[in-house]
């Protein structure tokens, strides 16, 4: 049974969901199908809203894995607060939904994909809208299907989807807290978040951030985007999240465990050929086999030499600026031109499609937080330009002594002006990479071609 020692819970109602496999969805009246993914429910069409901006993002969806079988009462649905038919149309509440699962092979590593598997009744449920995750979660249900829903059925849907999508789950229970004023409102939800849920998330994130590429025996790969970019292979390592940002290393590991023949797969590391550039024999072999034999080498920590191929959903990009012999970063949200005369849209158009484009690399928003970020190219000492907003977003991971020396659009996008600025602020690139105070451009090979010194 889910209990929160730090927060006394108000009176609740308990329902029992079927636990036999062929009865898991008996009585669930909404259709759960990819057909309903990504629906938008406008304010005027909404029966009920949970979490989101109106409540200062003080809500949560959470999954944990029980250590002992006895910690889970299979099929138990506990509801604190009003049921769906009991609220006025147009109502909005802070909320929390906590799914606890147990299985003999289930571990904390499975939490990421379990959230996606379990919360499908919201993500793919007829008449539901789900945006974001964790405490930024925002859910709406529309008026049209309100009569088909109550929390017992939704809880049943959650448990059912967790079990059928994630066969390692043998038992599950769910606690649903609807933060109506009569049960303590936002204060109740926030206390659960602050005392119990956030510390669990922080511990999970710290474990993930603490993992180094050297700590693991295998990496993982993903070819989900080959429908768009037929030769693209994404390499997922503890220090390199996929560009799209939808998965972590642990998430990829769990995905492969439950679906070993799916689009995610094990990428053996093999012999480490170059620890500085991040080149592994096993990675080269796997990428070669899965890229229709079009990519022979990949350096995990370089945008300049043999970078990973790009699909098209990367959230940001690194690009070489010849006149500065430096690297610029730009994220999707920045609308202006970069120092190479292209805005993100045009740059991404050039980079995407699954080719190996030396001198450019797709990034997830989190990639630059990796300790080995572009290590093979000089790391942060080679970064010379990025949009101001993106720089602020990454402030905590940019070395303090370099932060102010990286030019932004405020300095301009004219390479001469940036050159002057880099000299003026004594950017490390001036002494580490430039020759006699002048940038010497490298000749970058064309897409999919080899570097002359490695032919």
């Amino acid at each position: 049974m889910i209990r929160i020692p730090a927060v006394p819970l108000p009176k609740s109602r308990v329902f029992q969901a079927p636990i036999e496999l062929d009865e898991l969805f008996d009585g669930v009246q909404i259709e759960i199908s990819p057909r309903w993914m990504g629906q938008k429910i406008r304010k005027d069409d909404m029966y009920m809203e949970l979490g989101g901006p109106k409540h200062g993002y003080q809500s949560f969806i959470h999954v944990d894995v029980a250590k002992e079988e006895g910690e889970v009462e299979d099929g138990r649905i506990e509801l604190i607060g009003p049921d769906i038919p009991e609220v006025e149309p147009g109502s909005s509440f802070p909320f929390g939904i906590w799914l606890r699962c147990w299985g003999p092979q289930l571990t904390d590593d499975h939490v990421d994909p379990l959230i996606r598997a379990g919360f499908m009744p919201f993500e793919q449920g007829e008449g539901w809208m789900l945006v974001n995750t964790r405490d930024t979660i925002w859910i709406r249900m529309n008026l049209e299907t309100a009569h088909k829903n109550n929390w017992q059925r939704m809880g049943q849907g959650l448990l059912g989807m967790a079990k059928i999508n994630f066969p390692l789950v043998e038992k599950g229970e769910v606690l649903i807290v609807i933060g109506a004023p009569e049960v303590g409102g936002r204060d109740l939800v926030q206390r659960i978040l602050d005392t119990t849920i956030r510390p669990e998330w922080e511990a999970y994130d710290a474990r993930l951030m603490g993992l180094e590429d050297e700590d693991v025996d295998v990496f993982y790969g993903c070819t989900l985007c080959q429908t768009f970019a037929p030769n693209h292979v994404c390499c997922i390592t503890p220090q390199r999240n996929p560009y799209c940002g939808i998965m972590s290393y642990l998430g990829a590991k769990a995905t492969v465990e439950i679906d070993p023949y799916g689009y995610s797969f094990v990428m053996p590391k093999g012999e480490c050929l170059d620890p500085f550039m991040g080149r592994y024999k096993g990675v080269d072999q796997t990428v070669y086999e899965r890229s229709s034999r079009s990519v022979t080498k990949v350096n995990l920590y370089s945008a300049l030499r043999y970078p990973q191929t790009n699909c098209g959903c990367f959230e940001a990009a690194a690009f070489y600026i010849p006149e500065l012999d430096g690297i610029g970063l730009v994220d999707r949200r920045y609308p202006g031109d970069t120092p190479i005369g292209l805005n993100f849209s045009k740059l991404a158009g050039f980079m995407s499609g699954g080719n190996q484009n030396h001198g450019t690399m797709g990034l997830s928003i989190r990639t630059p937080k990796s300790k080995k970020f572009l290590q093979g190219d000089g790391g942060w000492t080679r970064i010379v330009w990025m949009p101001k907003e993106y720089k602020v977003l990454l402030a905590e991971c940019i070395p303090e002594e370099i932060y102010d020396k990286i030019a932004t659009e405020e300095v301009g996008t004219d390479v001469k002006a940036i050159q002057e600025y880099l000299r003026k602020v004594n950017h490390p690139i001036v002494t580490k990479f430039w020759v006699n105070g002048e940038a010497v451009p490298i000749k970058i090979p064309k897409s999919n071609e080899e570097w002359p010194d490695e032919k």
């Binding site: 990504g38 629906q39 938008k40 406008r42 945006v131 429908t227 849209s345 995407s352």
Partner: protein, 188 residues
């Protein structure tokens, strides 16, 4: 104060109805052939396309299973630059039909980046597509593969035939990108 009027070229390339820098990878007839083969393999009978109101589909397919009847209306186009026109055809068909077949736009494997811009970043076609429950499939004649990218057919058996059924999760990826637009629409 003089307001800045975007040049026609800028408007065309940055805003709605923009033109994407793409060259058709496959002809419409190649796409149609692959799609027909795929649908037949999935147990569908192909029907002669008859006009539906103002439009004429490129392909109509039907399958029955017990009491269930599935019907699909397809419009096939060669790239993102023709997608709005393709969806408009499907929307026109939907206006005329009172029953609920599946309405699908089939494209070749277009650039994912262009598609993201088309659906949410430079244009906003994602919401009308979802609101009207239109579908977007990608057909690759070279690899003989078909995938559903947006929406999902009423006939769930397609999950056994698409080369990558998980690709339908793309809608969630786009929807998360759309959060800012939903916020702007409702909260200003």
């Amino acid at each position: 104060m003089k307001s800045e009027v975007p040049s026609p070229e800028k408007e065309q390339n940055e805003g709605w109805h923009r033109s994407y820098d793409e060259k058709p990878a496959f002809s419409r007839s190649d796409l149609l052939r692959t799609l027909e083969k795929f649908l037949q393999y999935a147990g569908y009978e192909l029907a002669r396309s008859v006009p539906i109101g103002f439009m004429r589909p490129d392909l109509t397919a039907r399958r029955s299973e017990g009491q269930k009847n599935f019907e699909m209306i397809f419009v096939v186009r060669e790239g993102v630059n023709q997608a709005v026109e393709g969806f408009r055809e499907l929307a026109a068909a939907k206006c005329f039909r009172k029953d609920v077949p599946d309405y699908v736009l089939a494209l070749p494997p277009v650039s994912e980046h262009h598609l993201i811009e088309f659906l949410i970043e430079k244009e906003d076609w994602f919401f009308p597509i979802k609101d009207h429950q239109l579908q977007l499939w990608l057909v690759n004649p070279e690899r003989d593969k078909v995938d559903c990218l947006l929406g999902w057919p009423r006939d769930d058996q397609f999950k056994h035939y698409f080369s990558n059924p998980k690709l339908a999760g793309f809608a969630t990826y786009i929807a998360n990108k759309a959060t800012d637009k939903i916020l702007a629409e409702e909260f200003g």
